[in-house]
Subunit: 382 residues, 2 copies
C-alpha cells in the first residue's frame, strides 16, 4: 500500500488548494433553510470575516460561482457599450478581463507585457495621461506566470486620473498584502479555492460606493450578479438568490481558522514560504520565470525545467509520489511548471515537495548534489 492509495494528494497548485479536515467535513453538514435566522447569522458573520480579509468597510458579496463569475460581475455591472476601458494584461487572467470587457461592447485599450513581467507604473501613467478611461482592470497575482503587480502604486495612479480600479485578487487574497480601502481599490474580487482553504464554487466581490453608484447607470446588467441586489440583501443578512449553503458552511468554518492568525500574519507566512521555495529552486540551479523577488507572487511560482527534461515527466514523477504540481497555461504549456504555495500549505509540505522534486530530477538525469535544494529550503524556513 502506498501513500497515494490512502492519503489525499498534496495540492501544490494554485487551486484547488489543500483543505484542513475540519473545514472539509463542515461541507457535509446537513443543510438548513437559507432564509432561516440561523443561516442569516452565518451570512452576517461571513460578511464580517471577509471584510477583515479584504481590509475594507464595504460589504463583501458572496456569489455562488467560480472566480470568473466575479470577474464578469465586476465588468457586467460597470461597462456600458463604448465605455473607455483600459486592461492591464500580464498573463492569461488579465487577458480574461480584456475578453469580458470586449464582449460587453467596451472601447478597450490594452497595456500588455510578456509572461513573467509586470506593469511599470510610468507606463500606466503615460497611458492615463493621454486618454480618459472609465475603468482600468488589473491582476494582483497572475496565476499563469507567478508575477505580481504593485497594486498599491498602480491603483494610486488610476485613482489620480479619476478611473475605477477593478482588481483581480483571486489568487492574491490571504497570500499577499492587499488593502482595499487604504489603496483605493474600487472593486476587489477573490475565489474560495485559493487562499481561503475551500473547494471552488464561491466567489467574493467588494465594491466601493463609487462603483456601486456607477453600476446604477449600466444597461443590460447581469441580473444574477447585480451589485444592488446583493447589497440590499446583505442589509438583511441574506442573499438575493439561493446561496450555495454547504460551501458557505465551509466558508464560515474557514474564516474562523484564517482569522485566528489575522490577515497580517497570514500574508507574512505565505511570503516566508514562497521566498523559501524560490531560494530552494535557485539552489537547485533552476531558472524562475519571474527572477525578481519583488515582482513575484507569493501564491504561485513558475519554474523552467532543466534543459532537456520534459514538464510531463517531471509532473508524472511527482504525481507518482502523490504530489500535484501544475503545467504552464496557454503559450507556456509544457514550457514551465508551476508550484502553488497558497492556502493550507505547511512547511512540511514544502519540504516534501522539494525532496521529491530533487529525487525526480535526478531520476530524469539532471545532475544535482544531494539535498542542495532541501538544505536551502530548511535554512530559509527556520
Amino acid at each position: 500500500m502506498q501513500d497515494k492509495d490512502i492519503e489525499p494528494p498534496l495540492l501544490m497548485i494554485p487551486g484547488p488548494t489543500p483543505i484542513p479536515f475540519n473545514i472539509l467535513s463542515s461541507l457535509s453538514s446537513y443543510p438548513i433553510p437559507h432564509r432561516s435566522p440561523e443561516f442569516c447569522t452565518i451570512i452576517k458573520e461571513c460578511n464580517e470575516g471577509l471584510k477583515k480579509i479584504f481590509l475594507t468597510q464595504n460589504d463583501v458579496f458572496i456569489y455562488a460561482s467560480s472566480g470568473t463569475g466575479a470577474m464578469c460581475a465586476a465588468l457586467e455591472n460597470l461597462i456600458n457599450p463604448n465605455d473607455k476601458v483600459l486592461c492591464l494584461v500580464i498573463g492569461n487572467f488579465g487577458a480574461r478581463f480584456e475578453k469580458i470587457a470586449k464582449g460587453r461592447g467596451g472601447d478597450v485599450d490594452v497595456l500588455r507585457v510578456g509572461y513573467g513581467e509586470v506593469i511599470e507604473p510610468q507606463e500606466l501613467e503615460s497611458m492615463m495621461a493621454k486618454k480618459s478611461y472609465k475603468l482600468v482592470t488589473l491582476t494582483h497575482s497572475e496565476t499563469s506566470s507567478g508575477a505580481a503587480n504593485d497594486i498599491k502604486t498602480l491603483c494610486g495612479i488610476i485613482k489620480k486620473y479619476g478611473a475605477l480600479s477593478i482588481v483581480d485578487g483571486i489568487t492574491s487574497l490571504c497570500a499577499m498584502e492587499c488593502k482595499m480601502d487604504e489603496w483605493g481599490i474600487d472593486v476587489l474580487i477573490s475565489g474560495s479555492q485559493k487562499g481561503f482553504m475551500l473547494p471552488p464554487g464561491l466567489a467574493f466581490l467588494a465594491a466601493s460606493n463609487k462603483a456601486i453608484e456607477e453600476s446604477k447607470k449600466t444597461l443590460y446588467k447581469s441580473f444574477y450578479f447585480d451589485f444592488l441586489a446583493y447589497k440590499q440583501a446583505l442589509s438583511k443578512n441574506t442573499t438575493p438568490y439561493t446561496p450555495a449553503i454547504n460551501l458557505i458552511f465551509g466558508l464560515h468554518c474557514a474564516l474562523k481558522e484564517l482569522l485566528k492568525y489575522g490577515i497580517k500574519d497570514l500574508n507574512a507566512a505565505h511570503k516566508h514560504r514562497a521566498l523559501a521555495l524560490r531560494e530552494a529552486l535557485r539552489a537547485m540551479g533552476l531558472k524562475l520565470l519571474v527572477e525578481d523577488d519583488n515582482k513575484a507572487s507569493y501564491a504561485v511560482t513558475a519554474v523552467y525545467p532543466p534543459q532537456g527534461l520534459s514538464i510531463k515527466d517531471i509532473r508524472a514523477g511527482l504525481k507518482k509520489r502523490n504530489i500535484i504540481i501544475a503545467n504552464g497555461q496557454g503559450e507556456l504549456e509544457d514550457k514551465i511548471f508551476r508550484i502553488g504555495t497558497l492556502g493550507y500549505i505547511r512547511d512540511e509540505d514544502l519540504i516534501k515537495t522539494i525532496s521529491v522534486l530533487e529525487m525526480v530530477l535526478r531520476e530524469l538525469g539532471y545532475e544535482l548534489s544531494p539535498n542542495v535544494g532541501l538544505n536551502a529550503l530548511k535554512g530559509r524556513l527556520k
Copy 2:
C-alpha cells in the same frame, strides 16, 4: 434530549431538500484537480446521467451557480435588445424571467394569471397568432404557488409558431414528467437543491441546436454563462471555468442513486406521494391553493390555513418538532403555507409531517377528528 438536538431537520420545503447521507458525505471528499483525467471522467458521467434526467440528446451544462444563474444563462445567451419576448407568468419565478428579459432590453409581452392558476393553451395560441415572438419563457412547476403548467401542450404551440421555448424546470425535474426532446423544449434548466437531492450551488441547462445557433447572434452575452464555451469544453469532458468540484462529487453520487430507479419511476413516486399528501390535507378540511390535481405540481403543495389560525404559529409548531415547512412568497406571504415533497422524501416523512401537522392544528384550536389526515394519507400511500 429531543430529536432536534441530534437529528437534522426534516426539510418539507421546495429547496433545500433532504439529502441521503452517502451523498452528503461525498461532499467532503478531498478535491482533485479539475483538469485531471480523473475529474474529466466524473464530468463525462455527470453529463451522461443528466441527459437521462432531462430526456435529451443535448449536452447538459453544469454551472457553478444557483437556479437563477441558469435562468439568466438562458435569456442572456438569447435575447438581443428589442427582441420580441413573451413571458408566461403564473407566479414569482415566472415573474423572474420577465425581469431578466426586460433587463436585457427585450420587447416583453406578458401573459399573467393569478397565483394557483396555469396558462390555458388557447390563450397562448391566441397571443402567438397575433405577434411573432423570438422566444417564450414558461415555468413548469411554479414554486411560489404549487401550480404546474402543461408543458407538453404549451411547447407544442410555441414550436408551431417557430419561437424558442425556455422552460424553468427548476423544481419540476425528477418530480414531474418532462421530456425535453420529445416535447420540443429549446432550453430546459434545473437546480441541484431540488429534485437532485443535493445542496444548492449547481445549476443545469440543456439547449437545443436551434438555441445554440441562435446564441451565436447575441450581443453582450454573459461570458460566464456562454453556451458556446460550455459546449466546447464538454466536448473535452471539462468546463470552461473552474467547476464547483465538491458539489460535482455530490452530483456524481446523486445521479447514481437517482438512476438506480430511472426517471419514470422517480416521476411516478413523486406523483404518488404528492397526491397522497393532497388527499390527506383535504381530509383534514384544508383548502388547497391549486384545487385541481391535474394543475398541481408534484414538488410542492400550497395550503390555506384553517380560518383564524396564523401561518407563523403553524410553522413554529412544526419547527418545534423539527419539521420545516415553507411560508408563502410575495403576495402570499403569511396567507398560505407550502409543503415540499421534492427530492429524498420518503413515505415515513409524509406520515410524520401529517401526524405532527394534525397535532399542531389541534393545539392551535382547530377541531379535527383524530388521525383523519393520517388515515387518508396511509390509505393512499398503500
